[in-house]
Structures are given as structure tokens and as C-alpha cells.
């Protein structure tokens, strides 16, 4: 027998060995079909959870295989095992790096996806570079993949956080729906505390929301809930959130009448309006996300709309019902009125799983009030006859809670429960006893008969909790049942040793109380019980016995306390409050895992309280050009026309969309459109481009423009000079203009301008400040303060302003260029704009786009420019070589690759338009 089994095991081992070998051979073969077969087998092994890591060398060889399915399966394998075989995994990296440069966007995306999924720390710098590059890719799909890659890299190396935040900031500004969801996801995982990154994108996110894919919608809505809680303001009607009864009381007091009518921030309104249609989503998670947003943010009068949608979800899968009911239970405690019209939707069906039944019961109990209690109790009566005993027990508890909450029906409920005491099922009886005990505590003197009846039950009921409850009742109200109580104690003393611990404790209590009230009859019995307890195995019981003996039996040693024993034991005890387990759960954000578990889950972001004072709404103002584009993004669901599929309709659908935003947005749009037109007419005439820092409407009369003056900033040579022009359009003077609260990326510095003490109405003043951008196009954020107000503003430099001109000769230029080859050289072919075919315009356009100086040269076919970056003095060399018919080639050589790529883009734009 044993030998046979050994042989079988050995055979199995051999066959496994053989299979592994064939896999090896198949992977090495030239035929794709054999490779595919082998890879399929291997992936099937992985799926079953078997270890296939020993095949790694053979598999990784096939990473560059031409057959697309083999390749895909190799990727699957690689992602699974790279972490275990780091060294070998590195062999595959070059394939993906090549893929990142592929002209096909889908290949670029998939290369980035696999590359970022390989959990090998050595390649962190490569990943970082790839993500940065992909974040500025032309294709939104690749940018989306970049957003997905951010949390992957972050979990691999949290030290990259600062750099990743930069990428997130950039992607947040993206205007396509494809990217929005993924980048907010990355934001939530990497830097949820950097709420300031959202300001500028808030309105755009609200407007895009409806067209983002479902999963992105959930993430964005949850994030915006948190954002709106801290950053927008409406004179919250918080008072009304409290219990409805309390509210009524308050309303009577005259002080309440004076409460200010609340004002709502238009941005807050925008969010509420744009999320509402999503209640109609087919995705339960989206509906729940909107529901919690309304619950946490909407004024009381508007919250009602979510009830219908949530009730609809109760038709869905039972898991969905489970989660929704938990949330509804929490909501019903605060806002009962909202769900009252849907009472019948929470009726229980015999086919519901028990956990759903119990939750529905909870909701029904929360919804019960004087008007509907009779309907609910009638429904409960049917439930008590159910076959599901756990559910029956829950129903009995629910009846108890209704009885305590609604005084009118207390007696009816008690009647019903007493009837249940003769039920044949012990669990039902036990549960009823426990609930009756709680109810009786409210008015014991009326119900001594019930207590007598329950005393009789001690002979039959075995459930410890019920026995303990009965004993407590008899002890507590022994004066109402003076004849029965000692008899019960006698019986209990007999069975003391066989009882459960909670029952034993109550027997001791009963003995003590009887000793105090009726010591004649029970003195010996009490002594006996206490003696038994003294030698019990459980030390709680021994302790209790010792404590009680000292307290009630007067000896010389027992001190002053025994005098008060009667008062101690027979004090009036407050009736228990039967509370819902869902009370106060709403301090967790609804719909979250933490709310469901009623415990903080890892990574949970607290839902902050409303701010005390209104935060500055101007932080969400977007620079002129951007806001037009953001609103101009035509959304599919909003317009009813599909403009990128139906070319001729393009124009009209744009108009349709402009009408769609509210009046508030409409004003913004018309204003910004006007501004754009103004800017466009001014800009070409002056070499220095003016940018707006603060518009006079948001600045309440104060308008600020700035330009990069291209002058060396004398206090610090590593800073870019920014010239600001303040105009006071208001009727009153502005005082003490200065800068505060500068928020910068690490390494950046700011030299503030000296305070402008007075700017009289209608006057203009100029000041120069210096900013060290560290050779990046990161924005410098700060507050511009007057004596009354603060405005959040930010300055973001075009890449061309981050350099200063240097003078080089042609030879020097060529020498330097020779040292900046390879990675540092970027070449692009282009066709010059019709108006830009002569040397003069080329020079003019390049020097407008970037602060560079011309390098003298002999040939008229080539224009060369040179400069150094302001803060690190890296050389920037630009060559524009022209050929026939407007064809040209642009070459940029720069140590800083990021600067180089961005510069190429800017100059290309300048030359082709």
C-alpha cells in the first residue's frame, strides 16, 4: 500500500518535471504557435496560484516576440514575477523604453503600463522619466496611462513624492475627460492633503464630471465632497441638522428668527447642480457617491432628491443592498422625513438574506413615528412568525425600540411581547424576556403581574441572558413580588453551580437585594449562595461575593458603607435608552469603507467641518485663456450633439454649450471672451507680453498685470524679474499692497517687492519682484494683500522666460553644440508659416518666444540663438535651418532635457502660426 502510493507520487513528480521541461523547449522553439501554447499553460498555472517563477529566463527572452498574443502573455508573466527576479527583469526594460517612443499611441501606452507595473526599485529613475514624458504626450490616452502609473511609482518609492506631485499638478490641468478620473485617483493616493492643487481645476472638474467614465466619477465626487467642505462656503444651516424635535423647540425661541438667511457660494451651487443628473447613473457606486455628496453638502431642503435613487438601488444585487441599507440607516437617524414616503420599500420579503432583513428592520425602526407606528407594528407581527429565528429575535428588539421611542404604543408592544413568552421557540422567548425587562424598567409599578409571570419562566428558559434578565427584574422589583422572590432565590441556590457566569452574578445580586429587604426569610439562603460563590472558578464571581458580603453583612470591620447598602443596591436606576447602532456614524463620510465598518480604515481622509468663515473664492479663478477653453470643451452628454464625429455641427454645438452654464458662468464666459479678444490685438505689437494676475472684478477694483521684463534682477542674479503693474479702478484708496504666504515648490525662492503704502483711486503703480523658478515652469503661488483683502494669485512662467541671453561667436556656438549631442539634442522638422519665411521674422518670433540672443553667422540659411537658464546657468542653444518652400529644421541643445522639450514646443508654435 505504502509502496504503491510512493510510486504514484514519484510518477506525478516525474510528469510534472517533464511538463516543465517541455514548456522550456516550447518557449525556445521558433514556432509562435508552440510558444503561445507554452505561455498559455504558464499563465494558467499562475491563475491557479502555482509557482512558475523558475521559467523566468526562458519567458523573458520572448518579450520582444512579434506575435501580439505571446507578447501580451509574456507581459502578464513579467508583471507577476519581476519583483521576485529583479536582475533578470532588467533585461526586458529596453524593449519597453523603445515602446515608449513608438509613433502609435496605444503601443506607447501599453509600454508605459507594463514598465510602471514592474516592481523593481532600480528602475525608479527610468519610470520617473517615462511618466514625466508621457504626462505631456499628445495623446490623452497616454496621459491617462501616465496618471495610472503615478500611484504605482509612489508605492514603489515614496521619496519621489515631490516630483510626482509636479506631474499630478500638470495632469490636473488637463482638459480631457479621459484623464480627469485617473489623475484625481492619483491625487487621492499620493497627496490628498494638497487640496490647494484643486483650486484652479475645481470648476473644470465640475463641468467635465458628467462625461468622465463611471469609476472616475466616483473618485472625483468623493474628492470634491471633501474639497467643498473646506473650500466653499454657504452659511450652513447646520442647526437644522439636529433632531427634528429639538429643532421645533428652537424655532419657538425668538433668537432663532433672527438667523441670517444663508448665502451659497456659486461654486458650491455649481457642484450640486452638476452632480445631480448622476443620480440616474446605472452604476450604484456613482449614485451612492452623489447621495453622500448631497447628504454632506446640500441644504436641507434639497437633500430629499437622493432618497428615490437610493431606494432604486434596493432592487440591485444583495451586496449592493447591504451597503446601501447601511448608509440609509445612518441617514434616517438624522433626516427621517426624507425616507418616510418610501416606507413600504423597506418591507421585508421572506426571500431576503438575513443580513438584509436585519438592516431593513433597522431602517423601519428608525422611520417609526406616531403616525406610521400602527402600520409598522402590523408588519412586525408578520415577521415574528417567520421561520428565520435570528430575524425574529431582531424583530423583537425592534419592537422594544419602537416602544421606548414612542410612548403611545408602549403598552401595546408590551402586550404583544408578553404573548410571545408562550412561544415554543426558546430563542424567541429569551429575546422577549430581555426586551420586556428593558421596557418594564420604565414603569415597573404597573406591571407586577408580568414580573410574576416571568418568575415562573425560570423553570423552563435555559438561555443565560434571559435567565439573568429575569433574576435582575425580580431582584430590582422584589417589593412588588414579595412572596415569589424568596422562592426563586431558593431554586436558584439549588442550581447555582450549574449556571452560566452572567446568571451567577445576577443570583448574587438577587440574594443581596433580598437580604436587604427581607432578611428574615432569606438570610440563610444568601449566606449559602455567597459561600458557593466564594469558591467559584471565576474570579469575577469570587470578587463580587466578597464585596457584597462586606457590604451587606454587618461586622465590626465593615465600615460606614454598610449603612448605605440599601441605598446603594436599591437606588432608582435610570431606564436604559435603546439606541440605534447607527447613531453618530455620520461623522464618517457616507459610502466609505470606514462608515460601513464604523472604524477608521487605512488611508481614510477625515471629512472636515465647515470652515468658520468664508474662504476666499477667488482662488478658483482661472487665468483668462484657460477658462474659455475649459468651458469650451464640448461634452457629449450635455449638448446632444457630437461634434468631433459630425464636423459641420461643430459650431452650433459650441454655442449650445455656452448657453448651458448658469448665469454666473455665463458672465464669466462673456467677460473672458472679451478679454481674450483684447489681448490678441495688443500682444503682437509689443515685444513684452502682459499677463493678468488679478482681474478688476475679482480684485474688487484692483487689477494687476505682470510681464517678464527681461531685465537682469539686480538683488539676485539667479532670479527672473517680474514687473507688476497695479491699477486701482475702485473709488476708494488701496493701502499697504504687499505679498504674503508664499507657497513654492522646494528650491524656489521669491524676492518680494517693497510694500506699496498707498495707491490712490484711479492711479497706477509699478513694482518689480524676483522669482527663482529653479528652471522649472512650476507656478509661484502667493497671496496679494491689501489693507482689507487677500487674493490668491499665481505666476507661471513660459519656458522662454526662464533664460537670459548670452553672447557667443559662431565658433564658440559650434563647440558648445558639439558637447551637447545625443540625449541633450532635440530636432524637429517643420513647415514655416507663410508670413514667416524671411530671416527677420524668424529672428523676431524666436526672440519673442524665448529670451535669447542671436549668434552672428555667415550663412543666411541658418539662424542661431544662445542663452543660459537663469538659475542654473545651463546653456540653451537654438538653431533654425531653413530649406526650400518653407521647410525648416529646428534644433535645440540644452543640458536640461525638460527645458529643451518645452522650448521646442514653444518655438515650433511661434514659427508655424
Amino acid at each position: 500500500m505504502f509502496v504503491a502510493s510512493v510510486i504514484i507520487v514519484f510518477c506525478l513528480f516525474l510528469s510534472a518535471e517533464k511538463e516543465a521541461k517541455t514548456n522550456y523547449q516550447m518557449l525556445d522553439s521558433n514556432k509562435d504557435s508552440l510558444k503561445l501554447e507554452a505561455m498559455k499553460r504558464i499563465v494558467a498555472m499562475i491563475a491557479r496560484g502555482k509557482n512558475a517563477s523558475d521559467l523566468f529566463p526562458a519567458v523573458v527572452k520572448n518579450v520582444a516576440c512579434k506575435n501580439i498574443e505571446v507578447k501580451k502573455l509574456v507581459y502578464v508573466y513579467l508583471v507577476r514575477y519581476a519583483e521576485e527576479q529583479q536582475d533578470l527583469a532588467l533585461l526586458s526594460i529596453s524593449t519597453f523604453q523603445r515602446g515608449l517612443k513608438d509613433p502609435n499611441q496605444l503601443i506607447r501606452a501599453s509600454a508605459l503600463r507594463v514598465l510602471s507595473s514592474i516592481r523593481v526599485t532600480i528602475i525608479v529613475p527610468i519610470m520617473m522619466l517615462a511618466i514625466k514624458e508621457a504626462a505631456s504626450d499628445m495623446s490623452p490616452y497616454v496621459r491617462k496611462t501616465a496618471a495610472h502609473a503615478i500611484p504605482k511609482l509612489y508605492s514603489l518609492d515614496p521619496e519621489q513624492k515631490d516630483q510626482l506631485i509636479e506631474v499630478i499638478e500638470k495632469l490636473l490641468a488637463d482638459k480631457t475627460t479621459l484623464v480627469a478620473g485617473s489623475v484625481v485617483m492619483a491625487f487621492e493616493e499620493v497627496c490628498p492633503e494638497r487640496i490647494d492643487l484643486i483650486h484652479k481645476n475645481y470648476r473644470k472638474l465640475c463641468n467635465l464630471l458628467i462625461d468622465v467614465e463611471e469609476w472616475g466619477q466616483v473618485v472625483i465626487i468623493n474628492m470634491l465632497t471633501r474639497y467643498a467642505r473646506t473650500q466653499t462656503f454657504y452659511g450652513s444651516d447646520e442647526d437644522e441638522d439636529e433632531d427634528e424635535e429639538e429643532k421645533e423647540k428652537k424655532a419657538e425661541t425668538p433668537a432663532m428668527a433672527k438667523r441670517k438667511p444663508y448665502v451659497m457660494d456659486p461654486d458650491h451651487r455649481l457642484l450640486l447642480r452638476n452632480t445631480k443628473p448622476l443620480l440616474q447613473s446605472r452604476n450604484a457606486a456613482v449614485v451612492m457617491a452623489v447621495a453622500q455628496l448631497y447628504f454632506h453638502l446640500a441644504p436641507k431642503a434639497e437633500v430629499g432628491v437622493i432618497a428615490k435613487a437610493l431606494v432604486r438601488l434596493l432592487r440591485s444585487h444583495s451586496e449592493v443592498q447591504y451597503v446601501v441599507l447601511q448608509n440609509v440607516a445612518t441617514m434616517t437617524i438624522k433626516r427621517r422625513g426624507m425616507f418616510e414616503p418610501y416606507l413600504k420599500s423597506f418591507y421585508i420579503r421572506s426571500t431576503d438574506p438575513t443580513q438584509i432583513k436585519v438592516l431593513k428592520l433597522e431602517v423601519l425602526t428608525n422611520l417609526a413615528n406616531e403616525t406610521n407606528i400602527s402600520t409598522i407594528l402590523r408588519e412586525f407581527q408578520t415577521y415574528i412568525k417567520s421561520m428565520d429565528k435570528d430575524f425574529v429575535a431582531a424583530t423583537i428588539q425592534a419592537i422594544g425600540r419602537c416602544a421606548t421611542n414612542i410612548g403611545e404604543v408602549r403598552d401595546t408592544c408590551l402586550n404583544g411581547l408578553v404573548q410571545l413568552l408562550s412561544n415554543r421557540d426558546e430563542l424567541v422567548v429569551a429575546e422577549s424576556v430581555v426586551v420586556i425587562k428593558k421596557l418594564l424598567q420604565m414603569q415597573p409599578e404597573k406591571h407586577s403581574d408580568i414580573i410574576k409571570h416571568m418568575a415562573k419562566l425560570t423553570d423552563n428558559i435555559q438561555v443565560p441572558m434571559a435567565r439573568a434578565s429575569i433574576l435582575w427584574l425580580i431582584g430590582e422589583y422584589c417589593e412588588h413580588v414579595p412572596k415569589i422572590a424568596p422562592d426563586v432565590l431558593r431554586k436558584m441556590a439549588k442550581s447555582f453551580t450549574n449556571e452560566e457566569d452572567i446568571v451567577k452574578l445576577q443570583i448574587i445580586n438577587l440574594a443581596a437585594k433580598l437580604y436587604l429587604t427581607n432578611s428574615k426569610q432569606t438570610k440563610l439562603l444568601t449566606q449559602y449562595v455567597l459561600n458557593l460563590a466564594k469558591y467559584d472558578q471565576n474570579y469575577d464571581i469570587r470578587d463580587r461575593a466578597r464585596f457584597i458580603r462586606q457590604l451587606i453583612v454587618p461586622t465590626e470591620k465593615s465600615g460606614a458603607l454598610s449603612k448605605y447598602a440599601k441605598k446603594l443596591f436599591l437606588a432608582l436606576k435610570p431606564a436604559p435608552v435603546l439606541e440605534s447602532p447607527f447613531k453618530d456614524r455620520d461623522h464618517f463620510q457616507l459610502g466609505s469603507l470606514s462608515h460601513l465598518l464604523n472604524a477608521k480604515a487605512g488611508g481614510y481622509q477625515e471629512l472636515p467641518d465647515w470652515p468658520e468663515a468664508a474662504p476666499d473664492p477667488s482662488v478658483r479663478n482661472v487665468e483668462v485663456k484657460d477658462s474659455v477653453r475649459a468651458v469650451g470643451t464640448v461634452t457629449y452628454r450635455d449638448t446632444g450633439a457630437l461634434w468631433d464625429l459630425q464636423g459641420p455641427k461643430k459650431k452650433c454645438s459650441f454655442h449650445a454649450n455656452v448657453y448651458q452654464p448658469s448665469l454666473y458662468n455665463w458672465a464669466l464666459v462673456s467677460m473672458t471672451l472679451h478679454l481674450v479678444l483684447c489681448l490678441q490685438t495688443i500682444a503682437p505689437s509689443s515685444a513684452l507680453k502682459n499677463y493678468e494676475l488679478l482681474h478688476r472684478i475679482t480684485g474688487e477694483g484692483l487689477s494687476v498685470e505682470y510681464c517678464f521684463s527681461r531685465q537682469p534682477f539686480s538683488p539676485d542674479a539667479n532670479m527672473v524679474a517680474v514687473q507688476m503693474q497695479f491699477t486701482n479702478n475702485a473709488t476708494a484708496d488701496t493701502k499697504n499692497l504687499h505679498i504674503e504666504d508664499v507657497k513654492l515648490q522646494s528650491g524656489m525662492r521669491v524676492k518680494e517687492f517693497s510694500e506699496i503704502e498707498l495707491l490712490p483711486a484711479g492711479e497706477t503703480a509699478t513694482a518689480v519682484m524676483g522669482i527663482d523658478f529653479c528652471d522649472s515652469t512650476q507656478a509661484a503661488n502667493f497671496q496679494l494683500c491689501t489693507h482689507t483683502r487677500k487674493f490668491f494669485v499665481s505666476i507661471q512662467p513660459p519656458v522662454g522666460e526662464l533664460m537670459r541671453p548670452v553672447f557667443l561667436t559662431e565658433n564658440e556656438f559650434k563647440k558648445e553644440q558639439g558637447q551637447l549631442m545625443g540625449m541633450n539634442e532635440i530636432t524637429e522638422k517643420l513647415t514655416l508659416d507663410m508670413k514667416c519665411r524671411n530671416e527677420h521674422t524668424i529672428v523676431q518670433r524666436v526672440t519673442t518666444a524665448a529670451n535669447l540672443s542671436r549668434v552672428p553667422c555667415g550663412s543666411d540659411k541658418e539662424c542661431r540663438f544662445a542663452g543660459r537658464t537663469v538659475s542654473s546657468s545651463s546653456l540653451v542653444l537654438v538653431t533654425v535651418a531653413t530649406k526650400e518652400e518653407g521647410a525648416a529644421q529646428l534644433t535645440v541643445n540644452c543640458e536640461k532635457m525638460v527645458i529643451g522639450t518645452m522650448l521646442v514646443k514653444d518655438i515650433l508654435l511661434a514659427l508655424t502660426q
Binding site: D32, L36, V43, A44, I46, A47, R48, G49, I68, E69, V76, R80, L106, R113, S116, S117, S139, T145, P151, L178, I210, D211, E214, W215, N222, Q280, S281, R282, A284, A285, A289, A309, R312, R315, H317, V320, Y322, V323, K344, R349, S350, T351, T382, K385, M387, D411, V418, Q419, S422, K446, D449, G591, L593, A601, G602, G603, Y604, Y636, R637, D638
Partner: protein
Amino acid sequence: MIHSLFLINHTGDIFLEKHWKSVIGRSVCDYFFEAREKAVEPENVPPVLQTPHHYLISIYRGKLFFLSVIQTEVPPLFVIEFLHRVADTIQDYFGECSEGVIKDNVVTVYELLEEMLDNGFPLATESNVLKEMIRPPTILRSVVNTLTGASNVGDTLPTGQLSNVPWRRVGVKYTNNEAYFDVIEEIDAILDKSGTTVFAEIQGVIEACVRLTGMPDLTLSFMNPRLLDDVSFHPCVRFKRWESERVLSFIPPDGNFTLMNYHVSSQNLVAIPVYVKQSISFFETGPCGRLDITIGPKQTMGKTVEGLMVTIHMPKAVLSANLTATQGTYTYDLATKVLVWDIGKLNPQKLPNLKGSLTTQAGTPKPEDNPSLNIDLKIQQLAISGLKVSRLDMYGEKYKPFKGVKYLTKAGKFQIYIYMFIFLENLMSYLLFEWLQCVLKHSI
């Protein structure tokens, strides 16, 4: 977000696992098995479980558990909804979602999972996009594949992901252009023992099967859209048009999809198509009882009721049933105590009746819990709410499509409380009852 996924069959074997981040050992499932044991019925396993280091979120579909492992805060519905989407996708690909089918297509399923999530965040969940990347197996294709060694991975790259209509691919072509819509309504009702309605509502769904060339833009309008009280849409439906004009305007996905779910307001009285006369009683003397059920038509709008079926969950004590049915057949499952009476078509002239005796366990007290009675039925060519589609218009394409609408009414959760006669077995307890009530009346 979602860290790992385990597929577990009803016997507790893990037959597929997929990790989207670093690997998590199978031992994490032990917490789930513990809860599974405690819950007795698979439906009663809590969907969300907390373990020392992870959170487990699971769904139960087609006798399988889809168990996902979570490490940080995430909306539970997000995960649950996604897991159901996985199950839907498997069903869509292979016709059913069962252990056997998944095991047979393990590589395809694994590839699908790989595409659906990236680092735990949903990437492509639209079946149209997925089908472009990984082609669903068909008999013809699998034959061809085995002969030629070709694969079922798409060799063209998916374009759906890139457009802003991700649910439809570009370049769809059909020789027969057709668009069919099925309006299916379900009645959910609870009737009490006397036949009056405790609660009733109608839930409807419009299933579409659209095979149209190119990029058609459809508009579906109703005769009586006011009936619709609450609606939810496929992402392709434009909200604005619905809000302003009450029409469904959309660019349809290719193939089968659910266009819309709706709920008919409960103010409109819900027509109940059948009535049930029933009595179940148990005798004091001898271990037996009687059962008598008759079903008749009530409000059927002149249509025939088909597929009629009655399911009764009997009390535990009922051992066997000896019944005669005037129409159809009945079965009584001893293990689950479920009596199923399959009637078929309802003939108004000759009402179906089921009558006979029940045997209970000797020596045990009479059952006191109420059995419940559930009804299943179908009515063709009728939407019980009265909803009617008025027209379907197509824009954006030149050809004339073939159009059709079908209506169907079904019983959803249709339940009837049963009244049961129980003869009090114990005079003493009866007297105690009376006495108690007396006492209570006095004390109040």
C-alpha cells in the same frame, strides 16, 4: 484600490487568483472561510469583512464567490459594482458565469482581468472595448484557431478607448440593419392573506439589441413618459434631452445592452394579474395537515398568463406531501422543504387546483411559523404599467433600419402571506394566555 481577486467555488476551493499589485498569500481567505462557515447560507456572508491587515469584499454570483482584497479606504460599492461587472463580462463572453466555464477559459479570463484593472483601478470595463482587445470565443473561431494556430487576441488595436463614445467602436458594418427593444416589466408585490395588496410596484427595464452600421444617433420616444417615476440610464443616454423633452437620445453601443431601468410610480394602482385562494392547516390529532390552493386570473388585460409557478417554503416539520394537481406537476424537496407547483398556462375556464394532505413528523409539536408563497408568471405582449413606445428615429445615417418593440410582463418578487390554522395543543397555555390578557387589561 483593489489589490487581489480570488475566485472561490461553493466547496471552498480557490480556483483562480489574480494580483494587481504585489502578491498576497491565499491564507488571507481563511478569514473569509470562517465567516462563510458561520453564515450557514452563502447569501448570508457579510459582503465586507475586516481582517487584521486587509479588508475583504466579496460577492456571490452563480454559486461562486468573487473575493477581493483591499488594503486602504475605498467606497465598498465601488468594489462590489466592479466585481459584478467582472461577472457580467464573463457571462457576456462565455454565455454563463460558472466554475466550469472559467476553468475552461482560464487564460482568456486572466487576460480580461488584466485589462479591466490597472494597479487596482478600473481601466476598461466596457464590453465593446474589451471585445476589440480580446475576442470572445465562438465555435467557428476555436475550430479555426486549433487548425491554424491563430489566436483570439485582437490584432488591431482598440480604438474605442480613445473616442469620447467609448461604448461604440468605429467602423461597424452590417448587411441587415436592425434595432430591437424589449420592454420587460416585473411586478413586485406583497399580498396579505385576504388578497389585499400590502405593497406593489412595477420595475421595468428596456433591453436593446442594436445592429446598425456606422455611427447612428437614435431617439426613442414614449406615448406616456409621465408614467416613469424614477429612471437610470446606460451612459450613452443624454440627460439633458431626457430632462427637457422626455425622450431617450443616444448613440447606441453595438449589440446587446440595457438601455434603461425604470420604476413606475406607486401612485398608479398596480394591476395584480392573478389571485390565490389557499388554506394550509395542521390537525391536532395525528401527524398530518391539509393543503388546498386555487389560482385564478384577476387583471390580465385580456392576455394569457403563462409560465405560472407557485413556490412554497414549508415549515421544517413537514415530512412529505401527498397532493393531486388538476393541472401541471408538483415536486416537494425534502431537504430544503420547498414545494414547487409548475402550472404552465392559466386557463380561465378551468382553474388549476392543488389539494391533498401533508405529513408532519410524529411527536413534534405543530409548526407555528408561517410558510410563504411566491408566484412566478409571464404575460407576453403586455407591459402591465401601460407604457408604450411611440417611435424610434435615426439620425446620422442614410439607410432604413428594421425596427421592433416587444413587451413582456413578469412576476418579480411576488409574495403572498399565508394564513395557517394552528390548533392550540395545550389547554393550559391557552388559559394562561387568557389570564394574562385579563391581568393586563386591569393593570392598564
